[in-house]
Symmetry: C2
Subunit: 197 residues, 2 copies
DNA sequence: GTCTATAACGAGATAGAC
DNA sequence: GTCTATCTCGTTATAGAC
């Protein structure tokens, strides 16, 4: 048995490739990098994902789908808007704790070099996040856990942008606590939390 | 005269390479891309910048130095803290108007693939921005144009992160107005501007 | 001092074996 | 259906001509 049985090679490839994209960028890794980690050859990978763009699209879809699941879970399990926003912040914090950047944040920077299907997936990720936050903020305004200073849509856009940027800064400084501080600061001000000062 | 006289080839290279990095990332362009634009060969570029890492470091230093000059100009020409923050926002808006991303924001995402001198320059850029903002916010608190909800340092970090993220989102959506909205929203809340609601 | 010719390597991809 | 052997091209870099 020269190699452990591989029941789901495609998923193995996706997991390794996702980490590489989230740390090095789509143009910062090669099939060879993935191959060496899972113990195969670059050429073998082409059976599972014919082109690098195909692999990239699968990565985006997998990430979007995973994030969507986490958002649904937050909505069904947590009672009020403000608590849900903290859980949303924790999703980002978890990514940083694994020493990665948001897959779609990384790809957003490189978007000019990507195929149209990948672009659509990345833009869709942010739109989906904004829509979820918009609803969550509206819910929070209604249940009294939030007093947003501006409209739900504008507040939602500020949160996604603010979180992605805080993540990028924390990532480049290798300091997840920096994200936590900035995210809590933003959430407090955007949602009218009096705890600030 | 097969080719126009070239008085400053190095600067020509830097200008083209900077645009390529700011739109495609450091791992998304090659010497060949630069060479074709300025009408020379990839190999010729190696005389001016021996390695790609050398070119990258020169790009960071040039960008940091240019931004530093703009910050100094804002401080000497504008009277109060709040007005200076608007001018700071306009620096980002100018980059987006030229259909580019912040050079250091782009490189921050790719930082794991870069040399140590480049990394230091990128981290230094953000630290320099935070320090300038910190002073500007302190000035604004003193001159009455700002009522920051939290400490100058924390506010400064939130602005840099918030602006970089808003820029990334506006960039990937190809919509500079989106940055303008988010940036003004953040500035208003962070600096205690009552104009919001 | 500046660029040309060319090397050495790594990238993504293909054809066909099993 | 899955992987091996191989290919072609693009990439960074060097050596040496001018």
């Amino acid at each position: 048995m020269p190699r452990p049985a591989r029941t789901n090679t495609a998923e193995e490839i996706l997991e390794v490739a996702s980490r590489l994209v989230q740390t090095r960028g789509f143009n910062g890794f090669s099939y060879a990098d993935v191959a060496v980690e899972i113990g195969t050859t670059p050429a073998a990978l082409h059976y599972h994902f014919a082109t690098k763009a195909d692999l990239g699209l699968a990565l985006v879809q997998r990430y979007v789908s995973g994030f969507r699941g986490a958002l649904d879970e937050i909505r069904t399990s947590l009672p009020d808007g403000r608590t849900r926003l903290d859980a949303y912040r924790d999703l980002y914090l978890d990514v940083l704790a694994r020493r990665r950047l948001c897959l779609c944040g990384m790809l957003a920077a490189e978007i000019a070099t990507l195929t149209e299907p990948m672009r659509a997936g990345i833009v869709g990720f942010f739109d989906d996040n904004v829509a979820w936050l918009e609803q969550t903020i509206a819910d929070g305004n209604a249940d009294g856990s939030i007093r947003a200073k501006r409209g739900p849509r504008e507040t939602a856009e500020a949160i996604v942008g603010g979180f992605e940027g805080a993540m990028l800064l924390a990532w480049s400084h290798d300091d997840p606590a920096r994200f936590r501080r900035a995210a809590d600061h933003l959430l407090a001000l955007l949602t009218g939390d009096p705890g600030g000062k």
